[in-house]
Symmetry: C2
Subunit: 185 residues, 2 copies
DNA sequence: TTGTATTTTCAGAAATTTCTGAAAATTGTA
DNA sequence: TACAATTTTCAGAAATTTCTGAAAATACAA
């Protein structure tokens, strides 16, 4: 497995960005390679192509499986495990998006729900809780919205994302359809 | 500056989550504290409340300023710099969202634009470039959509986020209004 | 079974990131 | 100008994360 300089650059970049997207360098690289590679790869091929240890590949694959970003395959007459990216680019993006929502929002929502159960003991705490409630409301809304988006059919999601500033007009349209003011701005 | 156990928990949690949101532990803590605190705080107060070094606070504040998440204030008769969170919770969320879009998408878009300029040299590279093009198209669309969302007026953003699965219906509504098929599904 | 291929685990090494604290730089005052 | 208050810087220490590679575990075939 020799990587073209193109592939090399792509893979290294995903390694660098990895930490911003929620995984470490080598997991990012493995994900990138499996994404541009059409043929399934086994652990040894990954280790060799990325020049990392076999053990690291094993851990990385475990993590990619936890993210549900890779699929396991078997080739007839070969006992090795082979992996491909799990689905189309859109599928992968959706999965990353969902996983990140879970990891970045849910723990905070859980904590805030807890904290907001307590009675504030003084002025100071009352103010702090007000802020926490605001944070909670916003994150809760964001969480639901992210959920809605990731459940949307690709066709609809595409339409929505292509609307651009047309979104405002559409929302206005809806307001009128529902029986709001009939006077357009 | 004594933190209530509520505030303590909130601050520590933001510290833990920090790395997932794009900043390190102490920056996360400082941000959290400034968010629930209504009064401006100076660097010494932050260091004392969070039990971290003065130097660390200085670096943290610099980073929060780079994120445009804090505002500098001066109190009459006091030479120290005082800081507050920059704006409402919604403002803060919007800022974090924008900054993250820049940091997480833009570098990759730039790289992919570059790579896609090269002529593929063989079958292998052609396939890889096809995938890269797909990744590019998706990230580009996502980037523009994120941009649109962060420019939306709060009122509209709120409406949109509250739509839930009503989004599909709204998109359908729009299709009809534009003169699509008149037969609803 | 036994043997071989393959994967997983995990202790310690290496790399990276974060943090401290003292010194340097800056700012404002008199 | 001299001086005191404040902030910033940054070398090295500490903490954390990532990675390696050998050993253990597992899976499968004969």
């Amino acid at each position: 497995m020799k990587l073209s300089s193109q592939a090399q650059a792509f893979v290294l970049h995903f390694g660098e960005m990895g930490s911003r997207w929620g995984f470490n360098r080598t997991v990012g690289q493995m994900f990138a390679l499996l994404t541009i590679q059409s043929e399934p790869l086994n652990a040894d091929q990954l280790a060799q192509a990325l020049k990392i240890s076999r053990g690291n590949v094993s851990m990385g694959l475990k993590e990619l499986q936890a993210w549900r970003l890779v699929e396991l395959h078997h080739l007839p007459g070969d006992r090795k495990d082979y992996f491909t990216a799990a689905g189309s680019i859109w599928d992968l993006a959706r999965t990353v998006f969902e996983e990140r929502r879970k990891r970045e929002l849910d723990p905070t929502l859980t904590l805030l729900r807890q904290l907001l159960l307590n009675e504030p003991q003084d002025e100071q705490e009352t103010l702090a809780q007000q802020k926490m409630q605001e944070v909670y409301d916003l994150l809760e809304l964001l969480d639901q919205f992210a959920n809605t988006l990731s459940r949307l059919e690709q066709k609809d999601l595409l339409k929505l994302m292509k609307l651009g500033s047309g979104i405002s007009k559409l929302l206005e349209l809806k307001a009128r359809a529902k029986g709001g003011s009939t006077k357009p701005t």
